[in-house]
């Protein structure tokens, strides 16, 4: 059991990196208790500070048996390069421990959970800015002597406990401490509260640490998606065949787009989507698309679907009252036979209501500020719709029912015109600059959200595309648009985008 490569003539040192509120203190207390129960001296310290709520915290433990009745002198903080075990209660905290020099290849066993709790910096950006887990994996491979990594948060949840239990189990299972399993479990049992669940979590951690898992399985990648053989209905499979006829690089998105359009409106809408895509594919092929892996068509498959299935009130109402949604929430809430109630938080504005009017009528109303103000006064307020009640359900059901007339409504008219202008720009650009045309399609990513968020997205979209004339002649024009897109996703108002646009103007 005992791992002989850890020298015993000096204290065995353990650093725990956790987030405030994760129970790092409990884990630290358990480790001290197991050492003391085995006749060792153990010392733990921490810098949690009472106010350090969700911030990164470090606990540090040293242990050594007494010699001739003398207690050892133990350090209060870790020395980089001199730590035997690092326990990280979250994946990026494992990364932080490596950056702090606590994990070194000659010494350190790294026990980490692979789950993520995203930091505010990762969450607040309007786009994707989640830290790359592979970077932690790559660094831990060269930094640690040995790594025990699995999703201990999941293990804890399955056992109905908190993450300290499976972490403690993994520590016991690793053999890094010369104490037997029973003494670890005894420490948990003495704790009093939630003992059964903690022991279960401990056992899970222990088992996972002793099982030889493939290192490749350490950090799950996003699932790869393919095209199925059949969609389970003849009429759908005929459309699936049309998807298969598209360039390979576009098929996955095209199938998703097809489904999205059918789900959003009807089969005819799905056909409309495919027809648009097929027309674009022909243009693509004519402009050397084969050499570019049909990147233009692939981008169109994704973004034309999003443009056609724009986020509107009808779609929201439709999604809110589906049986699948009710079932999903009931299972997430573990509702069982107990009554489940759902409250939706919506805040319609005059614009949304007017957008549901027939196009001609709606245009007239929106041209009249007096009418717009009046309608806004009528409808603009917080509304909590209780979709589990028949009344609330019917409210949404009525709105969702407008789907049948959607194509004739003002919003649809707006969206289709907007899409046409955008596609025209892309197809016009295609013969001149292939990659730029592809990037013009990709710019649609910026259009998202509802009300103000949607308006902000549209403004960013327009600002990015305003750079197209300057970029037409440049071979790196597409790359520049890509850069503008990522700048636009960096902050809410598009300050980074304005900066990047300035650079483009100075090219």
């Amino acid at each position: 059991m005992f791992d002989a490569s850890i020298p015993r003539d000096k204290p065995l040192s353990i650093a725990i990196l956790a987030m405030g509120g994760q129970g790092g203190g409990v884990l630290s207390d358990w480790i001290v208790a197991v050492a003391e129960a085995n006749g060792w001296y153990a010392q733990s310290t921490s810098v949690p500070g009472v106010a350090q709520r969700t911030g990164a915290t470090l606990y540090y433990i040293e242990m050594l048996p007494p010699k001739d009745g003398h207690a050892p002198v133990l350090a209060l903080m870790p020395t980089p390069g001199d730590v035997d075990v690092v326990i990280a209660a979250e994946l990026m905290e494992a990364g932080r421990s490596i950056l702090r020099g606590l994990v070194t290849p000659d010494r350190t066993l790294l026990i980490t959970s692979t789950h993520r709790a995203y930091a505010v910096a990762e969450k607040e950006k309007p786009g994707e800015s989640i830290a790359d887990p592979q970077a932690v994996d790559a660094a831990s491979r060269i930094a640690a002597r040995r790594v025990i990594a699995f999703d201990k948060d999941e293990a804890a949840r399955e056992s109905g406990t908190v993450i300290s239990a499976p972490l403690f189990g993994a520590l016991a299972g690793s053999g890094a401490l010369p104490f037997d399993r029973a003494s670890f479990e005894a420490v948990i049992s003495e704790g009093g509260r939630g003992v059964k669940a903690s022991l279960k979590g401990f056992a899970e951690g222990f088992a996972r640490a002793t099982a030889n898992e493939l290192p490749e399985a350490r950090i799950a990648n996003r699932k790869a998606v393919g095209i199925p053989e059949t969609l389970g209905a003849l009429d759908l499979d005929q459309r699936l065949a049309r998807v298969r006829a598209l360039p390979g690089s576009a098929q996955v998105a095209a199938l998703a787009g097809l489904k999205r359009c059918i789900d959003y409106q009807d089969h005819a809408y799905g056909d409309e989507y495919l027809a648009r895509l097929e027309a674009l594919t022909i243009l693509d092929a004519r402009n050397g698309g084969a050499a570019q892996d049909f990147a233009f068509t692939a981008a169109a498959a994704k973004h034309v679907a999003n443009a056609m299935a724009y986020d509107d009130v009808i779609g929201v109402a439709d999604l809110k009252i589906r049986s699948a949604r009710f079932a999903r929430i009931a299972s997430e809430m573990k509702a069982g036979e107990d009554p489940l109630q759902l409250t939706e938080f919506v805040h319609p504005r005059g614009e949304e209501v007017v957008s549901l009017l027939p196009a001609g009528w709606g245009r007239k109303v929106s041209a009249s500020p007096a009418w717009m103000a009046r309608i806004d006064r009528w409808v603009n307020r917080d509304r909590r719709i209780r979709t589990h009640s028949i009344r609330g359900f019917l409210q949404f059901s009525m709105i969702a029912g407008l789907r049948r007339w959607r194509r004739k409504l003002l919003r649809h008219d707006h969206e289709m015109r907007h899409m046409q202008v955008w596609l025209d720009l892309a197809t016009r650009t295609l013969p001149k600059n292939y990659d730029l045309a592809r990037a013009i399609l990709a710019t649609h990513r910026l259009i998202k959200g509802y009300s103000d968020t949607h308006a902000r997205g549209l403004s960013k979209f327009d600002r990015v595309l305003s750079a197209v004339p300057q970029l037409e002649a440049r071979t790196d024009g597409g790359a520049w648009i890509d850069r503008l897109i990522s700048a636009a996703l960096k902050d809410e108002n598009g300050d980074a985008l304005d900066g990047a646009l300035k650079t483009v103007r100075e090219l």
Partner: protein, 720 residues
Amino acid sequence: MAERSFAREVEDLRLGDGQEFRGEGILAITKALLQSGVSYVGGYQGSPISHLMDVLADASDYMAELGVHFESSASEATAAAMLSASVMYPIRGAVTWKSTAGTNVASDALSNLSSGGVNGGAVIIIGEDYGEGSSIMQERSHAYAMKSQIWLMDPRPDLPTMVHMVEKAFELSEASNTPVMVEVRIRGCHVHGRFRAKDNRKPAYTLKQALENPVRDVNRIVLPPASFIHEKLKIEKRWPAAVNFIREQKLNEVFGPEDGEVGIILQGGMYNGVIRALQQLGLSDAYGNTRVPLYVMNVTYPLVDEEVVSFCTGKSAVVVVEEGQPEFIEQALNTLLRRRDINTRISGKDVFPMAGEYTATVMQKGLMGFLEKHAPRLLGNRPPLPDASPVLNSREVQALANVVPPRPPGFCTGCPERPIFAAMKLVEKELGTHHVSADIGCHLFSILPPFNIGATTMGYGLGPAAASAFNVKADKRVISVMGDGGFWHNGLSSSVGNAVFNKHDGVMLIVDNYYSSATGGQDILSSRAENKKRATNNSIVDAVKGVGARWVRQIDHTYDVAKMRDTLREALTTEEQGPKIIVASSECMLNKQRRVKPLVDKAEQAGQPVLRQRFGVDEDICTGDHACIRLSGCPSLSVKHVDDPLRDDPVAAIDNSCVACGNCGEVAEAAILCPSFYRADVLRNASGWERFMARLRAGVISFLQRRRETGRHLFARVSA
């Protein structure tokens, strides 16, 4: 009601002679106070000494048994002034706070106390909040000790030494008629260790005796001519008495060989780090058997000249391990040796950094630098030092540096302060940004992303005071923030009274979460809980009206973002003159959960109807803009990837830790964000009637759903 219950720790306080105490440093110190026969204890909570206060608060029955008076002081100034009970009477007293923040607040009383001197032992336990994880400005308490001639102890951070030094601190105080500060660093406060306990002692002279036999001595009062005599007394009597006591009682320790070419003079608090560095350099074992002589100053002020001289004599050089700046001890040593023409070289800040915590690596490098310069032979064949630099310089780890996100502390899940700042952000969008004068407390986290609100903090309860210059006609008003903790600590007079008196035109936001939350959830005057031993439920609104405020709004449910926003807007735009005060109250969620959750669990198990609530995000409606997160930052509101080839950006998601505070829904409404938020309520142990009605509704709805879903191909947008 403090954040945790200290029932078990209270039991540790009762340990008797010969029994072994195992636990945290600050609790060992608490036990040492009782072993010393202390009569009264006061203080103001704050990291890292909150536990001392909390344990004593929980131990009040036992304290009464021992005849010890304990109180939570209104501020550190109050605590320091409390020590005046030891001025005239032979009564032992102790107070505690976080330093240097608390020492600053206390300094008026401290100066008076140390000038007149004390009769009974007066001890101040200060949690020195310096270095990693500190929440305050980086300064040293040493300066206070020197300027007021208060003696300063800095014991080795092992429990027996800490306990022994606290006991000796009372004796030193009495022997020299001077208050004594015992400085314990953060890690020392939180260190887990053990010591042999002694019986607790009832006070030899009680407060009751003092009250019934009053004494006065004009010479102890800071009034001329006594004040001039005090200074003379300090120098001529109290100082020498202290030095004699320290020497006779051997409070400072010498370790290692008697003779040595070189030596190390260190603050007691640095001892463990020095031993570890020496061990790494091959000059000590793990049990403290060092080959380099050490002079460990468990008392860092005053210096015991004879001891220092005798340690330095015969050595070619000594190094002073003194954390922080300026290097007071090193300077004093130089003066001392020069005066006696002793030519031992004094090293210190030449090999150690002037500023910053003495981490393991700093210690190693500093001592190595000293030895290389003055005794390279000692280093012998130089065992390899622990070194993480090859790893840190590797490509993979360098790449990691740009990946790992910072993780500063923030508002907890369900924090009632979050909606307040969300509302401020919404007002900002309408009226533009404002100068926001912030204060100390959890609400200070609003300075960080995603809120980015707040320009300065000048001290506890001083947020509005720090806005006082901005009382001029302008198109925008200044906003200041203060917590209920700061309000009662200092804010009522320094901030509110001042603003009323000077007809300040700004907006003052008082964040009331029912506790002194940032320090661990202690009760304060306006706490809503009934507290047997304290007078709670004193309204902040009444208090501000009592000092003359006119425009006062109370919001008793901060989660009402729209109301919060409208009230702020009104405060910023009203024609009314004078301070506009908004008291925004909702219970600290951390404390509330701790209080309510066990009750709810119990009720559910007992078969009583219980509503379980949680918020959720419909991931096929969410478009991944994260505007909701920018108005929240809640730990339970996060993002997740969906396996949807049509989408590039992760969507919002709410995890199981959600406590259904309501902020998400309110913000989505008030900010007109998006309709993807929902609240799910499950009624556990519902009555037969409720079940029947629910089934009926579900039946009808399910019929309607079938009707509208037949003939359509519905695909889940997300296959995750």
